[in-house]
Symmetry: C2
Subunit: 1003 residues, 2 copies
Amino acid sequence: MHSSELNARIVSRGKEFFTSIAGEKPSLFDKGAWMGKAMDWSMRNDQFKVQLFRFVDVFPSLTTSRLLTEHIREYFGDEEAMPPFMATGAKVAGMLGSFGGAVLNRVLTSNVEDMARQFIVGETTKEAVKNLEKLRKDGFAAVVDVLGEATLSEEEAEAYTNTYLELLETLKKEQGTWKGLPGTGGDPDLDWGHAPRVNIAVKPTALYCLANPQDFEGSVVAILNRMRRIFRKVMALNGFLCIDMESYRFKDMTLEVFRRLRLEHPGYPHLGIALQAYQKDTDRDLDGLLAWAKEQGVPISIRLVKGAYWDYETVRARQNGWEVPVWTIKAETDAAFERQSRKILENHAVCHFACGSHNIRTISAVMELARELNVPPDRYEFQVLYGMAEPVRKGILRVAGRIRLYCPYGSMVPGMGYLVRRLLENTANESFLRKSFAEEARIEQLLEDPAVAAEREREARAARPEKERTGPDGLPPFGNEPMVDFTRPDHRAAFPDALARVRTQRGKTYPLFINGKEVLTAELMPTVNPNNPSEVLGQICQAGTKEAGDAVAAAKAAFPAWRDTDPRTRADYLLKAALIARTRIFDLSAWQILEIGKQWDQAYADVTEAIDFLEYYAREMMRLGEPQRLGHAPGELNHYCYEPRGVAAVIAPWNFPLAISTGMAAAAIVTGNCVVYKPSGLTPIVGWHLAELFREARLPDGVFNYVPGRSSVMGDYLVDHPDVSLIAFTGSLETGLRINERAARVQPGQANVKRVICEMGGKNAIIIDDDADLDEAVPQVLSSAFGFQGQKCSACSRVIVLDAIHDRFVARLVAMARAISVGPPEDPAHSMGAVADDNAMKRIREYIEIGKTEGQLLHEGPVPAGTGYYVPMTIIGGIRPEHCIAREEIFGPVLAVMRAKDFDEAIQWANAPRFALTGGVFSRSPEHLAKARREFRVGNLYLNRGITGALVERQPFGGSRMSGGGTKAGGPDYLLHFMDPRTVTENTMRRGFAPSDEESGRL
Amino acid sequence: MHSSELNARIVSRGKEFFTSIAGEKPSLFDKGAWMGKAMDWSMRNDQFKVQLFRFVDVFPSLTTSRLLTEHIREYFGDEEAMPPFMATGAKVAGMLGSFGGAVLNRVLTSNVEDMARQFIVGETTKEAVKNLEKLRKDGFAAVVDVLGEATLSEEEAEAYTNTYLELLETLKKEQGTWKGLPGTGGDPDLDWGHAPRVNIAVKPTALYCLANPQDFEGSVVAILNRMRRIFRKVMALNGFLCIDMESYRFKDMTLEVFRRLRLEHPGYPHLGIALQAYQKDTDRDLDGLLAWAKEQGVPISIRLVKGAYWDYETVRARQNGWEVPVWTIKAETDAAFERQSRKILENHAVCHFACGSHNIRTISAVMELARELNVPPDRYEFQVLYGMAEPVRKGILRVAGRIRLYCPYGSMVPGMGYLVRRLLENTANESFLRKSFAEEARIEQLLEDPAVAAEREREARAARPEKERTGPDGLPPFGNEPMVDFTRPDHRAAFPDALARVRTQRGKTYPLFINGKEVLTAELMPTVNPNNPSEVLGQICQAGTKEAGDAVAAAKAAFPAWRDTDPRTRADYLLKAALIARTRIFDLSAWQILEIGKQWDQAYADVTEAIDFLEYYAREMMRLGEPQRLGHAPGELNHYCYEPRGVAAVIAPWNFPLAISTGMAAAAIVTGNCVVYKPSGLTPIVGWHLAELFREARLPDGVFNYVPGRSSVMGDYLVDHPDVSLIAFTGSLETGLRINERAARVQPGQANVKRVICEMGGKNAIIIDDDADLDEAVPQVLSSAFGFQGQKCSACSRVIVLDAIHDRFVARLVAMARAISVGPPEDPAHSMGAVADDNAMKRIREYIEIGKTEGQLLHEGPVPAGTGYYVPMTIIGGIRPEHCIAREEIFGPVLAVMRAKDFDEAIQWANAPRFALTGGVFSRSPEHLAKARREFRVGNLYLNRGITGALVERQPFGGSRMSGGGTKAGGPDYLLHFMDPRTVTENTMRRGFAPSDEESGRL
């Protein structure tokens, strides 16, 4: 907090500022104009705001009049439903039928484009430079930024880099004609006598299409390679380069790029970086940077901004279970900005400061701080965004004599993302501009010390804690285990550590685990690293029918006591196992990286899913374990409750070797069944670790039995066993149907009609609608298709692209695919590795050959040298529904591209195979999304996102038709399949006397 | 309401009354004594009251010290948990270990017996007569009543009758020694100079073990036969006979018995009947009686009481969905009493009046009314119960000079039921005695005109209406369709009418119904009346594979549109069908009586169950049709919803030909599947009527198709059909397993993994614990075992009786069985009729022969002449778990009796068969009931009631093991089996902008 004298000066200056601009309004809030009206409606109507912003987002892709007309109707309804101002132009023109539609199209097009132009200095370099000159004439300096679509490929990154180089080339020519803006400095060739006339800002992730903290070093190097070329050109112009800060995910990477670039040219003064005051890390980052600069003796420049991705950062963190990295109280950000401004200004000798804010309180505070600290004018400047807060920029220019506008330029498509951010910023409830100019809040309030406001808000929040959701019986409510967070250096370091650690256990012999005891068998089977099959990870004892029979007997013997153990106690074992799993999460991930070839994030996600199953089913059982009262008649008491079935055979796949095994076993166990668990022969070590979790949780003997073995030897035996009452299976269609059929044959001595819970294959499609956001669709399709080599039942194996967008989509898809690096997943640079085993490799290669004859090969990636079970990443175009690779499950990195004439055909094709597991749609048409909800009949449908990675509780997983029995793992009905319901009815009337309902309800 | 002057006189008299007894307390409320303390605790602690009253109920059956000790502990806990007064005696004796237990036993035994003695004038005739004499010495006249257990057999009814005859014989001797009590009348040999010295009351249903309004005439005749014998003896003594009124169920029957007996001896003055003021019918009944007496010129006497079965009447009515027959506002009863007293006193010339009340307001009102109407003393008298309200009886004697005590006598066992009623009466919140003597309410309040109080309470209730439960989407909540009410003459008359009506349709030819059209086939099959196989009811067109295939094709074609019909609309068709079924409920019942031989009530219950399924599943689908939001993460929207599977084959049984067919078909339809329905070959006409219901509800063509036909011809065809995705089957184990196995084989072209919802057999047991209430257990076992000839999957086929009670149970069981009449169920005198067909008859007869060799034949009932498929009602004792008839489902009127050494063995035997459908326990041990809840592992367990007649919603029905797949018809999970869940996940964040949760939640 500032001293009260300083704060008084800040407030006083702020009041002067307000007085000086009294009566002026930013053009954005001018209700006389279309844009002002749109802003006004948005601020008063949340639903309209959503529709408007989404319309702005999709607008550039509405390239035909039909598309535009349809979307206008879908987003805003007909003219009756529309806010009057939107239809005005059309109404004037007598909006009727298609003619009216055309008028409305024109009105909206011109207004949305005007909105964008408000914030964008030009669509081309030429136009931008012309406008920059105009701004200079009005006394405004500029920092120029090139708008860019998401960079999905090396070609796109290269093109983006080249745009900067061309811009710099143009500016080089132009700046000769520019006089320096007037100011206090001494050099007439510089602006204000001290600042470079050319000043650009670059977003680092646009320079590398695969930037990803998981591959931190690789990403830094790749970005630096292109940044360096730009910086050289900047230096040649004696210009200024500011490295922009983007989302939190890339923050540390950006800092690293800045530091390395800085050290490469330690003498050149004009290199800066942006920091965001809303990041909770920024105080620490700033201290670090300043200390580093002093230590290295290098000059730095910092542009401090509040931060523009607040929604994104909070949503992303909450979705992933991470701490929200940004301040959630607006005043905390404002206070941090002032605090950090002081820190920078105190260090003005080493650090130049650019204050990026439209907030009059903030600007006043910086002005007063600079005065208090006697900071020379050439060591700090003010920046505002082009098109925003015109009164503020005028005021600053008047007071400070210098101001720089942040001027993006480029085409409409990327411009719209920028526009949405600006609209969001201006219409947010907490927006200073909204409060100042649209709502005319009290000036005292606007100028209050934010540190005081923040403290007050923190106290207020503490006084009214959010109504907490609660879980059953005092537990916290279920929440997904947080995802791995590669922004954390400890998480990045943990993987190599864990890999090294588990490797020390190579070659161990793994026993069976039956009735609480380890059992060794004569027959051993090695388990190997599919990326290097000569690396034997362990020798696995193999169960035959004898051992399988022993395990069933043990489970049967353990059953009565386990069934009678109360649900809460059973649930506690699962919670205990989850606790243990958390402590060894990296080792459990490392085993999967080695034993089945998962990438770091994929392996970790498998472990968190296993933890989720344990935590979720524990709570579900506590919910279902409570007998339910039925009916309302007096004199009788009806209870409905659930009972376990007996011995459950859990037959698990290798592709989610821990998660699916844990899910099926935990469900069986917590419901009171006893488990005979057969892991896949390809992942017995991961399976062993599940047995370890339950053993360490002290699950009673016989409740969980681990019996790896050859399916051909003991698979049918288990399924046929008369004492097995329940079979939970996840795997191939062929095996699933075989189990289903065998289990239906009643064996002599069998007690129960067997129940089979089976999850089988998929032939999953993603539909790309003609208005899809390709920036999102392309990477999501690739990760859905090729993550873990496509070896997920949920993987995308078909992409059905609408004709109008087909070629654009395919071009970007293939270009991005080319960037993907293949190799052992223990190196995070590789996003794809070997497939599961030799059989898989051969089978997939056969399908690729078939695909090549059926369609056109669009992409066949390289395969690394070595003995790993590699197949090339393959994309085949021109596939039709009747083709083999459009119908059969390949279970590998093969993607079929299909060109559909319209959305209906796309849905029809998507539904065509006998599977119905997952599916996706990228579309920004509300009607198409609604249609897909109804008609794209798969177990898990995903709209505008990838189709893998279903999360427990949020996306219960499983399909119907030939994909499975309609069970939904991780969903509210799943445990019901493991139990039989019972009804107990008590006549509570005796001798004509019936206790009141309340009395008789007690059990 | 009375005139205000009269009311003032009543209040004034009442105040005098209170003054005259000031300071006196009934012994019941004397807190110095054990009983007073027990009453006091009961009134302050509802749970203790329940336990005490239940303990009193079970007490007489605790014939060993062990039983007594256990029950004391189970009911009241150890001495710490017990109210201090209970343990006092034991504590004094240093209650420790078994010695303490023995003391406690003695203390409780003596106190409970004392309690009973408070109300019972003696245990034997001798003791009773001695005590009557004592009472006479104190000036009290008496009416004597013989306590009786429920009369379960003709032997018991005869014994009860004989007790009365013996009592009368004894009294005959005694009365010679009795002087008439002093009074105003002229005859010194009569009490008070005008009243017979011998006065008895008889409960009519105790004179016939099968009294039942369904067989109204039969019951009246049977009761009259014994009542007549008692009445003759009464007349010989110049005594008085009052026919007691019991529950509402028998009210009209009792009135009829009275009227007939009255007319047989029109000149004899001393015959009375009790009426209950709490019955809403009583004003009408009273008017009727008075008019009838005048018309017939016969003298009558009415004892008016308030009524003692209030709990029973309300509970029973609410359980059955009937209007509650008694007033639910206490003051309404009191007001009715005064109103009816006036009516009787106004008619004193024809009707003698006995006022039976302990309420000082009531008594005062009667006194004042009699005075106002100048009623001579010999035309009215006052009665109170022996042992109750001693101050009141003294007061009456003082004022009126005459009072009669109602004096029950007899053994403890039936005495306890009487005791519980008295305790209940005294401890009820609304009890006048409790208010007067235990709580000392204001006298003004106690003496208020009840008509005024009733009006006030009615208004108060109207002002605060009960919080109504509501159903989905504006529908009323689900409630079971009311049971048939044979107390209603219209219901009794409706059956013969309907039987005659449907018989006019005999011989009709029934077509198939496919795709909305009737289809005739060449092959016809007759359907006949099993009680008279020569009666052909209709000719049924038979579907072959061609027609079955057409039906599947029609269903498949109808599916897409039906699936896409919204759940509410689908539900509306079911509600419409329910509405239609209600209008023809008696015809639908009559068809079942003729086509499959159901008794009236059984047939009607089948129709109400069908209606319940329609109503319940309609609401369930509305609940499940609403997509469920999952998860709480921002920026994503997860919906979980359900989809139908396609074509459902519904293969129905004959035993609940409408209910089960409707349940399976309605579930399939409302969830969006299309149905091919194969009714049983034994009940195709009932099945046709289901088709009619759906047709008249205008269900779209093809959604429901009716295809009767031979299982051997088209059963497998349907099951194997690749376009059938779902099979709902109810029937035999053999067929069920066959279907399950065939359905698991995937056929070429099959789209879905088939799902089979199967309900199969049962081998259900009822356990009779050594403390069971045999009055309830015996009739419930019989109706569970022999209702509808035992042809229910829920029927009781084994009764497992604890050794200690075995012989007593069996004796009463067999005696009652002997009373049951066998013959065509269209005559309601027959509780059992022919079995389904010739095959069933032969199979059951074979089992009977096996049973005879395995055990001892305890009962083999007679079989009527004629060609019906009759088998004898059979009870076989000495059966052990290993016997064939203890293990195999017989599906006929054969009951195996097994003698178990203790409760654990009984549970073990009960669980032994491979079936696990229903089961029951009669026990009054809280621990045994709790144990049964846990360990008697059947789908539907019933405690202290019969084990058939599960109701939709209240008792979801179905078993596990070899009884079925663990589905529960009529329960909250049932519809899930007909659908597959789907998850739809939408990423709602675009360009970093995520709408608020509320906005994005809209679909």
